[in-house]
């Protein structure tokens, strides 16, 4: 018998959506899933943690403070702000081969590149080679926008103005001889900084673009004079400049200075005595900052990073411990099987 019942038009639609009967997956976190889950996650984390930790332990790091606060340090003589063109030398020795490639960093502490006002004090358009902003830099750059005679500063702003200007030379002392350890300064900046964000204006010679502008107040030479020898490393796309312009997130930071991977040093720095010649220009003592140099090599996981391994280990162990606790609780209070 076919019964045709006419549905009232007022009756709500019988769809899964309106009747809240949408098919749904209802995960239930039962003990059977959670406890093995925790064990698995825990074991995986422990595994990763062990791997990271061991790798990290094999990475060599050598850190040397050269601020010169220590009276015995050679750099102590440079701490007087009145000393110009001060050069000091630090000696150190390496016991075993410092495996290459070795990276050479400079580090600053108590230095607030992450300060909001510091961070905004730059002109992205100017650094992108926009000549309009050469003449009229962004107001963000104040007070390093115009000099006392109202000439526009290029590159403007606090970040550029405070460019780190210590330079280093490393010598290996072999039989009293000072052998220069060659530094490689190519490709130490971020790819995007070098290729996208920073650009020299399309003017040849580069110098002409800077007519009518002045160099930043703290600088001894203009930005187009940073590296005369290599036009691809000059101006705004100078690697050291780029490295500096990339703000550090934290007040204690290090920045890559050079790579050591050439000539005799492709395998690293052999054991021996070394001497680091520093041209000490950058004052940090006024705000209790410290300067240091760091030698480090890297592995697949990057530089030395004990924390990451430890963090994985701790989390992994916690997971395992939690799963044990849950197992005990479960065994004690579990619902009867026949339920």
């Amino acid at each position: 018998m076919v019964r045709i019942k006419k549905e009232s038009p007022d009756r709500p639609d019988n769809t899964a959506f309106t009747q809240q009967r949408l098919p749904a997956w209802q995960p239930i976190l039962s003990a059977g899933i959670v406890i093995p889950g925790f064990v698995l996650i825990g074991l995986a984390f422990i595994g990763v943690g062990v791997g990271l930790f061991i790798t990290s332990r094999d990475i060599q790091v050598l850190e040397i403070d050269y601020t010169g606060t220590d009276q015995t340090s050679d750099c102590n003589k440079c701490t007087n702000p009145n000393t110009k063109n001060c050069v000091c030398t630090l000696s150190f020795n390496i016991d075993t081969l410092f495996k290459g490639p070795v990276f050479f960093y400079y580090g600053l502490t108590n230095y607030f590149q992450n300060h909001r006002r510091y961070g905004v004090s730059r002109d992205y358009k100017q650094l992108y080679g926009d000549l309009a902003n050469f003449k009229d830099p962004s107001t963000d750059c104040a007070p390093y926008r115009l000099d006392s005679r109202n000439n526009p500063i290029v590159p403007c702003g606090s970040v550029a103005n405070s460019l780190f200007n210590d330079t280093f030379k490393l010598y290996q002392i072999v039989n009293g001889q000072r052998n220069v350890v060659p530094f490689d300064g190519k490709g130490i900046a971020w790819w995007t900084d070098y290729n996208v964000k920073f650009k020299n204006p399309d003017v040849t010679p580069l110098q002409n673009a800077f007519n009518g502008t002045v160099k930043p107040l703290f600088w001894t030479k203009a930005v187009y004079e940073l590296d005369f020898s290599d036009p691809s490393n000059n101006g705004f796309i100078n690697q050291d400049f780029l490295v500096w312009m990339r703000r550090a997130a934290l007040p204690n930071f290090r920045k890559l200075y050079r790579r050591i991977a050439e000539e005799n040093y492709t395998n690293g720095l052999p054991a021996g005595n070394y001497s680091l010649e520093i041209s000490y220009n950058y004052p940090v003592l006024s705000f209790n900052g410290r300067k240091k140099v760091v030698f480090s090599n890297v592995s697949w996981m990057g530089g030395k990073n004990d924390f990451l391994g430890i963090a994985y280990l701790v989390i992994g162990s916690l997971c395992v411990v939690m799963s044990v606790v849950m197992l005990i609780v479960y065994a004690k209070f579990k619902f009867p099987e026949d339920d």
Partner: protein, 1115 residues
């Protein structure tokens, strides 16, 4: 009649309010330049009337027009505190020294919120415009210079005479002048106005009734002086001056806007109030806005969060002061202070505001909008629910208020009306007692189906649907028993039913109450057929013989009198008063000679009551011509009184309704609705206390209580409070409580200690108070002071099930200030409470009492006008759209057709709504704290400079794009158990009642979790990245890497959290969760693309080549 505060949606088409709106005065043009004290209207004299500048008949319920929309709407929106707050933030952000974030981080969400609300307001207003236009352009016939002309409604003026035709809406409040029907009568239906569907009669003043045709009316130049516009639907006071005479005008002469003319060919009326001045429009103020407890909690929490925000701001500002002094001032060689800053204190001051800006996301602007969206979704689910659709009456459930859904999951007290709510309100004449003889018993109890009486051979006018089973009564009618005949004659005369005789013998009765309809129908079937009425006559057909009575007076029914009478003169000229009413009032007005019959009838009445039937007693009185003259004079006098007319009339009625002769009693059955006992049983399993508040007599109420399983035989005891004095009520309450203690003591001895301690305390308290009051009370022999209400912990611990029945007159005492606490504590120890003989006002008082003393969520459910006050005062009002008009529905927050849907509304929709809302709020606060607090930690490492951790685009989009949809999907679709489970296990409702899922503690847990997450999110990347380098030696501790890592980790962590919180993964949830993550990565890559940077190098400076995605997230 209860005056309504709001009206059918048709007149005020408001879409389900997405956003709460304060009282809006509709008809905004009602503001006069002066306050009108008296209205003077002269018929057919536009020049004269124009002097007063009365409102025209054009109504405007809309608030905006195209030009004013933007400014007015924005102005209104900025009256919301939240919106103003964000505007304030926006202004702060425009100050360069403070601005820690670009202005667009605030303006984008703000604009989004404002535009959503504006679109909604605009849509609402568009529909209002449409309906205004439609109403304003209705055609009406206006008498202009002696001829009828068609005019639009909006062009009708005060003082015009308009012609109304059958089934037309009345265009304005008009004074009825004349009608096509005799005596200037006309019939109207007021459903639009007060929801009552029965017809009402209006009559013109006799002098104008004679005017008749348009030619005469054109010369009519009477002047009406009356009260100014007001909202009282049932009152009108004024007088007509015409040809140097004064005629009194009452509501009886008025046709109000919104009524429909019925059964009247045409009538003429004089426009008195037009447009916004009409009573309909004057009544249109919206009711006060109900808020849920979660709303209130949310507001408190938001305030706390503001406090927290200020605290964090202060901490960071202090940090800033210290840092600037210790470090910043020295660091000035590289980073000099901005020009206006010259010392660290000023810098700290600015930093405070900067931090207020970046930390403002702890109070998310999207919170309120999201909450409204979720509630709207839940409301639609209620409207769409097929299982709450009544196919008999073709009505779906309706959430009329969208803001209360989650409170449906927290109800602890239900106050229910009985008639029409628990019962069907379809009355059937079941039994009667005539002159001491009861009829209607089903004689053959054992037999299968008793034979239904067939009236058709005996009476061709009988209603074939009428059922009666006792043929003794029919016999008695047939043999011509005087009492039986008089009994049915009374039923055919004493009522206010209107009849419609479409064709000969096919009668349709329109009754104000179903009881009346049932009684008149019974009389019809037993041979006393009510045929028609005019204002002065009632025509019946008695045993086939047409008789016309002249109707001398109708002594109308009201809730206080509880009776109605008619005085008629039969064709022989004898005057008789027929009265029917509640037995309590009627039996005390009988002639002393009736004593014997009264006892027998009372017994019958009690029997009927015990069967759950509704009873009425019937009596008559013969009046001599002199008595009638004397009384009618006094009645006329009372009717003319200008003040306290009601009271005077009642007193004059009282005068004549004395010394009556008892005829008998009727018993009407009102069948229980389908599924009521099951619903009540289920609801009481959830710990919801059910109170039935009914106007019925005690026996009826108790019986219904048993039949719907509220009271059961398993109950330890059912207490009855029926004292008439304060003392006896107190005494009864106290002994009930003593008895409860005793019973529960005998049940479990474990709690004895506590109870005895309490009893002792009471005793001492009593002694003390007795001493004190003894001096004052003086002569009283029995004097019991109020018992201190027992500690609630004790009363809660009373086990066992008790029932309590309270009588209306006792309730009046119990609700007095000094006894209410005692009453509440006694009543709340009981599982079921029935209050009988309750007035509408008392219903509301009981609800208020529980609201005040119990801090519990109350729900009132009812179907009639007498439930409106209760529905409005309860937290949630539910209207049953049943037989008794739509007043209750109009006042309600939710409406459906059958009581049994309540279980689904509460246990399924309410529970889900509560669960979803709580989960939503927990997660929402969590995600914003996790998001925002990272800035706080970062503050300690960036010199408290209000440097944000994240990119500003991330901050802008986090709340509105990356994390809004998954939580909305959870808030709308989540289910912990399927609907049938929550009906099977009513205990699942309990967490809502105890408010376990979202309260201050839960809030702090969420906040704590959020803060913990922010700690992990900040310090893990901090530790990992600070010395980390890529495998090509480039350090990773630059700001961009840090920002992106943290932001990515945050989005992943909160997505995992919502995934864990979501218990019900529908397609939509999947789409939103994965979609949001996908969106995040897409937008991130887009924002960080070289293209964008090349176009806006100043805005998008986080450029990442595709080969260099370097975020390492640790969660």
């Amino acid at each position: 009649m209860t005056v309504l505060k709001d009206f059918q949606e048709q007149w005020f088409p408001l879409i389900l309010p997405l956003h709460r709106k304060k009282t809006q005065s509709v008809g905004g043009r009602s503001k006069h330049r002066w306050t009108e004290e008296e209205r003077k209207v002269k018929a057919n004299d536009r020049e004269y009337n124009e002097k007063f500048q009365y409102a025209s008949n054009c109504i405007m319920t809309s608030k905006y027009n195209i030009l004013t929309f933007l400014p007015v709407n924005l102005f209104e929106q900025f009256q919301e505190v939240a919106n103003t707050y964000f505007l304030f933030l926006l202004i702060l952000q425009l100050i360069p020294q403070i601005s820690s974030l670009s202005w667009f981080t605030t303006i984008v969400p703000l604009a989004l919120v404002l535009s959503i609300t504006a679109v909604k307001d605009a849509t609402d207003d568009y529909f209002r415009h449409k309906s205004d236009n439609q109403v304003n352009n209705r055609q009406s016939q206006v008498l202009i210079r002696g001829s009828l002309q068609n005019e639009k409604w909006m062009n009708v003026r005060v003082g015009d005479i308009i012609k109304l035709e059958n089934n037309q809406f009345v265009a304005a409040d008009v004074l009825l002048l004349s009608s096509s029907e005799p005596h200037g009568l006309c019939y109207i239906e007021t459903a639009e106005l007060d929801g009552e569907t029965n017809m009402k009669v209006r009559q013109s003043v006799p002098v104008t009734a004679e005017l008749g045709d348009p030619n005469n009316l054109a010369t009519f130049n009477g002047e009406v002086v009356c009260e100014p516009p007001n909202n009282k639907l049932d009152r009108f006071c004024g007088s007509l001056y015409w040809r140097d005479r004064k005629y009194l005008l009452t509501n009886q002469n008025m046709l109000l806007r919104g009524c429909v003319l019925r059964n009247t060919e045409a009538c003429y009326g004089l426009v008195i109030f037009a447009g916004p001045d009409t009573k309909l429009m004057q009544n249109s103020g919206r009711t006060k806005f109900k808020r849920t407890s979660i709303d209130r909690l949310m507001n408190t929490l938001v305030l706390w969060i503001f406090g927290f925000l200020v605290c964090m701001g202060v901490i960071l500002a202090v940090g800033n002061a210290v840092w600037e002094k210790e470090v910043g001032s020295l660091f000035q060689s590289y980073l000099p202070w901005d020009p206006p800053v010259d010392n660290f204190l000023f810098s700290a001051f600015l930093s405070f505001w900067s931090y207020v800006i970046i930390l403002n996301t702890v109070v998310p602007i999207s919170l309120y909008v999201s909450v409204e969206v979720i509630r709207l979704g839940h409301s639609y689910f209620i409207n769409w629910d097929r299982q709450m659709f009544c196919s008999q009456c073709n009505t779906a459930a309706e959430a009329r208020t969208t803001t209360l859904n989650e409170e449906l999951g927290q109800v602890e007290y239900i106050f229910s009306d009985k008639t029409g709510t628990l019962t069907q309100n379809i009355m059937s004449f079941n039994k009667c007692s005539i002159n001491g003889q009861t009829y209607g018993e089903r004689t053959d109890q054992m037999g299968t189906q008793p034979k239904r009486l067939d009236f058709s051979p005996f009476n061709p006018l009988a209603d074939p649907q009428f059922c009666f089973y006792d043929d003794k009564l029919l016999e008695s009618v047939k043999v011509g028993d005087v009492h039986t005949h008089e009994f049915f004659r009374l039923l055919s005369l004493c009522h206010t039913v209107m009849s419609e005789e479409k064709s000969e013998g096919h009668l349709v009765y329109k009754a104000q109450s179903p009881d009346e309809g049932a009684l008149v129908t019974a009389a019809r079937n037993f041979g006393f057929v009510f045929r028609s009425r005019t204002p002065g006559t009632i025509t019946t057909s008695e045993m086939g013989r047409t008789v016309t009575y002249s109707l001398l007076a109708i002594l109308d029914f009201n809730n206080i009198r509880k009776r109605m009478s008619v005085i008629v003169r039969n064709p022989e000229g004898r005057i008789r008063l027929y009265c029917k009413g509640a037995d309590t009032v009627l039996l005390e007005r009988l002639h002393p000679s009736n004593l014997e019959l009264m006892t027998v009838t009372s017994d019958h009445l009690n029997e009927y009551g015990a069967d759950g039937l509704r009873t009425l007693a019937l009596a008559f009185r013969d009046l001599s011509e002199e008595e009638w003259e004397v009384w009618s004079e006094s009645h006329r006098f009372a009717g003319k009184a200008t003040d306290c007319r009601e009271d005077r009339l009642a007193a004059s009625y009282d005068l004549i309704e004395q010394d009556m002769m008892l005829l008998g009693a009727t018993a009407i059955e009102d069948k229980l609705q389908e599924g009521v006992p099951e619903t009540i049983a289920l609801l009481s399993l959830t710990n919801i206390k059910i109170w039935v508040l009914t106007g019925d007599k005690q026996e009826t109420a108790v019986n219904i209580g048993y039949s719907c399983k509220m009271l059961t035989d398993d109950m330890a005891e059912v207490f009855i409070i029926s004292g008439h004095t304060v003392q006896s009520v107190r005494q009864e309450l106290r002994s009930a409580r003593d008895r409860m203690m005793e019973l529960s003591r005998s049940r479990d001895g474990g709690k004895r200690g506590g109870m005895e301690g309490w009893a002792e305390a009471c005793f001492m308290g009593n002694g003390f108070q007795q001493d004190q009051e003894g001096d004052v009370g003086g002569g009283k022999v029995f004097h019991s002071p109020p018992l201190p209400s027992p500690p609630s912990s004790f009363m809660d611990s009373i086990s066992g099930e008790f029932g309590l029945v309270v009588n209306g007159h006792s309730l009046a005492h119990a609700l007095e200030a000094d006894m209410e606490a005692e009453f509440v504590s006694t009543a709340c120890a009981c599982k079921a409470i029935i209050c009988c003989r309750v007035t509408p006002l008392q219903k509301a008082q009981v609800v208020e009492l529980i609201k005040k003393h119990k801090k519990a969520v109350t729900l009132a459910i009812g179907d009639g006008a007498n439930d409106v006050s209760m529905i409005k005062s309860a937290h949630i009002g539910v209207g049953i759209s049943g037989q008794e008009g739509i007043q209750a529905v109009l006042a309600s927050d939710y409406s459906f057709a059958q009581f049994r849907f309540l279980q689904r509304l509460l246990l399924v929709h309410g529970r889900w709504s509560y669960l979803r809302m709580c989960r939503f709020l927990c997660y929402f606060f969590y995600k914003n704290f996790a998001f925002t607090m990272v800035h706080f930690w970062f503050g300690f490492f960036c010199g408290f400079s209000a440097q944000t951790v994240y990119d500003q685009y991330f901050i802008t989009l986090y709340n509105i794009v990356y994390t809004s949809l998954p939580v909305l999907a959870m808030g709308i679709f989540d289910q912990d158990v399927p609907d049938h489970r929550s009906l099977e296990y009513p205990k699942l409702y309990e967490p809502g009642q105890l408010n376990l899922l979202f309260n201050k503690k839960e809030f702090f847990i969420c906040i704590a979790q959020g803060i913990y997450t922010s700690v992990v999110l900040f310090f893990v990347p901090y530790a990992v990245l600070s010395n980390a380098t890529q495998s090509n030696g480039v350090p990773l501790a630059d700001y961009q890497t840090f920002a992106i890592s943290t932001a990515t980790a945050l989005v992943i962590v909160v997505s995992v959290q919502i995934a864990l919180d979501t218990g019900f993964w529908t397609v939509i949830n999947h789409m939103f969760v994965w979609g949001s993550l996908g969106f995040y990565f897409t937008i991130m890559f887009a924002l960080h693309s070289q293209t964008l940077f090349r176009i806006f190098p100043n805005q998008f400076h986080f450029v990442v080549p595709k080969t260099h995605c370097c975020s390492r997230s640790c969660g």
